[in-house]
Amino acid sequence: MELDWITVAAQIVNFLVLVWILQRLLYRPVTRAMARRREAIRDRFAEAERRETEAEEEAARLERERAELDARREEILAEAREEAEALRHRLEEEAREAVAERREEWEAQIAREREAFLAELRRKAAGHVARRTRRVLDDLAGARLEPAMAEAFLARLKSLDGDEREALRAEAGTTEGEMTLTSAHALDDETRARLREGLQEVLGDAPGLAFAEDPDLVCGIRLRIGGRTLQWSVDAYLEDLDAEVSAALGGDRAEAAE
């Protein structure tokens, strides 16, 4: 066991040199590199944490927005439904009104057409019946139409019940016997005498009897005493015809309306 002091000194120097060199070349660079890397990793973690926080905030924000949008969508839908309902009501109302209007127009037109048709029918039928009747009566044994009409008129006059007869008499009293017999054509003397006789029989007396002619009467005889009128005329039959035709058309219209 020897101790060489020169070697000891040399080894001390060697060791100190080694310490110095390794400190420069090894420990310091490695320590610094590790520190830098640790710093970088810490930075990365901090960055990741920051990003995560941001992402969470963003997610929360988006969630809030979505909820708002949902709420707004419900609101808008409700509004739209309300509007649609209102619009539907309005359109229905309008359509109903339009239909009613159209229907009124249509009914008015139908009524007008019916009126026109009836008037025309009445006019034509009256003329027709008068002509036919006249023809028929002319054809019958040369009989004249007026005497037959006079007979028919007198039959009607005599068939009046007591009240009506009294009313006519009272009227003749107020006009002091003034009365007018109107026919479509001029009456012959014999017929006039028959009529005067008939009137006297019913009214007691006919001092102011006058005769007149009115082509509009077509076929008939009319007695006018003051405000009262008694008449026999084809018009009566024509009016019956008119009434029947009107009833028939009215029935048609009722069917059409269903």
Binding site: F15, L25, L26, Y27, V30, M34
Partner: protein
């Protein structure tokens, strides 16, 4: 058979004779410095680490952790000294498996030199850490009567450091030499493998003890002022 590599003269440099202790010390230094230079070239902060950098970072980080554990202080100031002790002794011992190589740590001169370095470093670190007065006061604790014993303890542990390392490494070499002569081929190989283990353990023990002594100088007496410090 020569026990000490001190008396094995490798070559002469002019008038100076270079013995095996110094020569192989230079070899170990050269290896360590070359490693550091290679590492320096490969060193990177970012991206994938090379295996070489990974190895050295692991070693440095382990030493730092050990220093922190023993001293409870920032390992920065102590790292070069303690890590170099460990690396130098470990590499010297590990190379013992190479035929023809004699570990410099098998020389009492080398171990005495390292122990002297520790002996000097302990008061230096103590003074740097606590000031001259603070360090010197540690010798008269708990009473001035203890001062001679403290001084003796300082010297005796230095002697123990040197003798322990020298004895272990030298004995390993001697045992290998003796076994080769009496039971060649197989048994010496096992002893050499065991030598690798004991070599690294000795390096660890030497470095840790050095750190313990330094820590006791820089911290133990601070513990008197701060009992909770430990």
């Amino acid at each position: 058979m020569e026990i000490s590599p001190d008396s094995w003269i490798l070559f002469t440099l002019g008038p100076v004779e270079i013995n095996a202790t110094i020569g192989f010390t230079w070899l170990v230094m050269a290896l360590l410095i070359a490693s550091a230079v290679v590492l320096r070239l490969l060193l990177t902060d970012t991206g994938a680490l090379t295996r070489w950098q990974n190895l050295w970072e692991a070693i440095v980080e382990t030493v730092r952790d050990q220093i922190r554990e023993v001293s409870g202080q920032d390992p920065g100031p102590y790292l070069p000294f303690v890590a170099t002790l460990f690396l130098f002794i470990a590499v010297s011992n590990i190379l013992a498996v190479v035929p023809g190589y004699r570990p410099p740590t098998g020389s009492l001169s080398t171990t005495a030199a390292l122990a002297l370095c520790v002996l000097i470093a302990v008061p230096l670190f103590g003074v740097a850490q606590r000031g001259l007065g603070g360090y010197l006061r540690s010798y008269i604790r708990p009473t001035p009567l203890m001062a001679p014993f403290n001084v003796i303890g300082e010297l005796s542990r230095t002697l123990a450091l040197a003798i322990r390392l020298y004895g272990n490494v030298m004995s390993g070499t001697v045992i290998a030499g003796i076994l080769i002569s009496i039971a060649p081929f197989f048994f010496p190989v096992l002893m050499q493998l065991l030598g690798l283990l004991t070599g690294v353990i000795q390096a660890y023990i030497f470095a840790i003890l050095a750190m313990v002594y330094i820590a006791s100088a820089t911290r133990a007496h601070a513990g008197a002022a701060d009992p909770e410090g430990d």
